[in-house]
């Protein structure tokens, strides 16, 4: 795709590529000249870089250079973490804690790729109300982390967290945006993250799944207050994005029907989105949510949220939904990703991958930004990205 277009971003006329224009068409619900293929390969890159198993062709390359070599649209290419971080995706806001909130971090490792089993990171928030702490363990090769202890263990920790939230503010990361704009601004519309919706933020990040369920059951009043405070954080974040050239806001969510079954979804998630989405839309932005778990029971409910699209919905054989169920549940919405990650593994027949991609293109164009659900696995055959890209190009030429 090499045509140029001129569009207006915050009052300014800007030349953009056909890729940019085609992505805007997806957001705006228009037909386009083709589907954009924008897979997440950062995890594959990070693990293989750390393990010393990057294919020789890619050794010494930055992530966006690898995207260019594969001839696909970059995603997660620049941001807070230096090499291999994200411009077009992760948090564009810097958290600023209150003056009397101290954040202490202890970690047992040095180089992240030299981690050993049981290497951990302890983070403590020390406040006038008390101290709360989480312990995270690094995964194999140190490229990701997992909570072995969550911040919120009891009602006392909730009071401390409420204090932290009340004192917290958010700042737009101007420098990161301006750098990324020079490099990718004409290629990919700016996409920024919001944290998980309040219930999922508790379940996935701060309290843990089982404890959140038990606390909702045993202490409903205290938990309602906490959920309300978490919602107010979103209003702060959305306000911090006001006037910025963000096209898409993405809720982290990690939605899974086992963690958030339909009764919870109807009680805690839908009302939240119905309050928040008008504020997003009032700023001229679109919003997606990350649905990477089993979602068969939730898809019929998603239209009521007002979300514009879903990211990472995973069809069979890896997820629990058919493409038809996705299409029906997401009527009027757009899909980001859609190819089950496991199909990029070498033991899966190429024909299976090809059939899945062709069906996705046929069924979801024009409301599709194609990618991998959820991300290319570390032991994937990266050449399958090139293979898929050929199929996408063929499809685009047929339009």
């Amino acid at each position: 795709m090499n045509q140029e277009f001129t569009i207006r971003i915050l009052g300014e006329l800007v030349n953009v590529t056909e890729t940019y224009e085609n992505m805007m068409a997806v957001y705006e619900g228009r037909e386009s000249s083709g589907v954009v293929f924008q897979p997440r390969i950062k995890h594959w890159y990070d693990v293989n870089l750390a393990a010393g198993t990057l294919p020789e062709r890619y050794q010494g390359m930055y992530l966006d250079e690898i995207y260019r070599d594969l001839d696909v649209t970059p995603r997660q290419v620049w941001g807070l973490e230096g090499v291999g971080s994200e411009f077009a995706g992760y948090l564009g806001l810097q958290v600023k804690e209150g003056d009397d909130v101290e954040v202490w971090v202890k970690q047992t490792h040095g180089l992240f790729y030299e981690t050993k089993a049981h290497d951990y990171i302890i983070t403590e928030y020390r406040t006038p109300k008390g101290t709360m702490r989480q312990v995270q363990r690094l995964t194999e090769h140190g490229t990701s982390f997992y909570n072995s202890e969550y911040y919120l263990k009891d009602l006392e920790d909730i009071e401390i967290y409420k204090y932290v939230l009340q004192e917290r503010t958010y700042q737009w990361d101007r420098l990161r945006y301006e750098w990324g704009k020079k490099r990718f601004g004409d290629l990919i519309p700016l996409r920024a993250s919001l944290q998980h919706s309040p219930l999922m933020w508790l379940m996935v990040r701060t309290m843990g799944f089982q404890r959140t369920v038990t606390m909702l059951w045993k202490h409903p009043k205290e938990m309602e207050e906490l959920l309300q405070l978490l919602e107010e954080e979103f209003y702060k974040q959305i306000e911090a994005y006001r006037g910025r050239p963000v096209v898409e806001l993405s809720f982290g969510d990690n939605m899974h029907q086992d963690m958030c079954p339909p009764p919870y979804f109807k009680k805690y998630v839908t009302p939240f989105y119905r309050r928040v989405m008008p504020k997003v839309h009032a700023q001229g932005m679109y919003a997606t949510s990350h649905w990477d778990g089993f979602v068969k029971q939730l898809l019929p409910l998603v239209k009521e949220t007002g979300l514009d699209g879903l990211e990472c919905v995973t069809p069979l054989p890896q997820g629990d939904v058919t493409l038809e169920e996705m299409k029906e549940g997401m009527e009027g919405m757009f899909l980001r990703d859609g190819i089950p990650a496991v199909l990029f593994c070498p033991w899966i027949k190429l024909r299976t991958l090809e059939d899945q991609v062709r069906r996705l293109l046929e069924m979801f164009y024009p409301r599709l930004i194609l990618g991998v659900s959820d991300l290319v696995p570390a032991n994937a055959d990266i050449e399958r990205i090139r293979f898929v890209n050929r199929i996408v190009k063929e499809f685009n030429e047929s339009l």
Partner: protein, 219 residues
């Protein structure tokens, strides 16, 4: 205590468990033991209540969240029954060792599976996450284990399944234990090549298979 009164109490215990009424369940359980019912019998009655919870889950009336709450309810009642217990509660169906394999830290599915088979009557040795093949096989070797359950989500960790199976064979343990694996990225082809006895996508399917195996062994 008359049979009628006993049955009324048992209905109260089952009903309280199914509706997650902790105080009512504790009251009825304590009344039962104080009237001469053994604590072990009360635990059996609670397991019947859990079976109903499991049926409601299967029917789509209850969800994983209700399984957790039911498990918590049962746990609180077991705490008040503990002084009256003579042996260990549960374990009548058999013993299972469960683990998330080495390199993998995902455990929600595993934890749900553990909850389901515990309330079904299995004694469960939960080894946690990131467990080496060596430690898994050691746990099988050290206990009279009927079932080994392994979980993995990351494709890079699936290779642990055939590694564990090979190790079981080398130690002469493979024929003594049924191996079931789970995880969203497991495929039928992979499970077959790995040499396991079953693979599942959901914890509930896994629990049903395990119950079926134990019934077959018994008959």
């Amino acid at each position: 205590m008359s049979m009628k009164k006993q049955e009324e109490l048992f209905d109260e215990i089952r009903g309280a468990l199914i509706n997650f009424d902790v105080e009512a369940a504790k009251r009825a359980a304590l009344e039962a033991v104080q009237m001469g019912v053994t604590a072990e019998k009360v635990v059996d009655v609670m397991s019947e209540g859990m079976d109903v919870v499991g049926d409601k889950y299967q029917a789509g009336e209850y969800f994983v969240t209700e399984l957790i709450i039911a498990g918590e309810t049962m746990k609180e009642v077991l705490e008040v029954l503990e002084p009256y217990m003579e042996g260990e509660a549960g374990g009548k169906l058999g013993t299972a060792v469960v683990a998330t394999v080495e390199g993998d830290l995902h455990d929600i599915g595993k934890n749900i599976f553990v909850m389901l088979i515990t309330t079904a009557g299995f004694k469960v040795i939960d080894l946690g996450v990131d467990v080496s093949a060596e430690r898994i096989v050691e746990a099988v070797r050290d206990s009279q284990v009927d079932i080994l359950g392994l979980s993995a989500l990351l494709t890079t960790n699936l290779e642990q399944f055939p590694m564990v199976v090979d190790r079981l064979k080398r130690e002469g343990l493979r024929d003594k234990v049924k191996v079931i694996v789970g995880g969203a990225t497991v495929t039928e082809e992979y499970a077959e090549e790995a040499g396991v006895d079953a693979y599942v996508k959901t914890a509930l399917d896994g629990a049903e298979i395990c119950k079926g195996w134990v019934k077959n062994i018994r008959s």
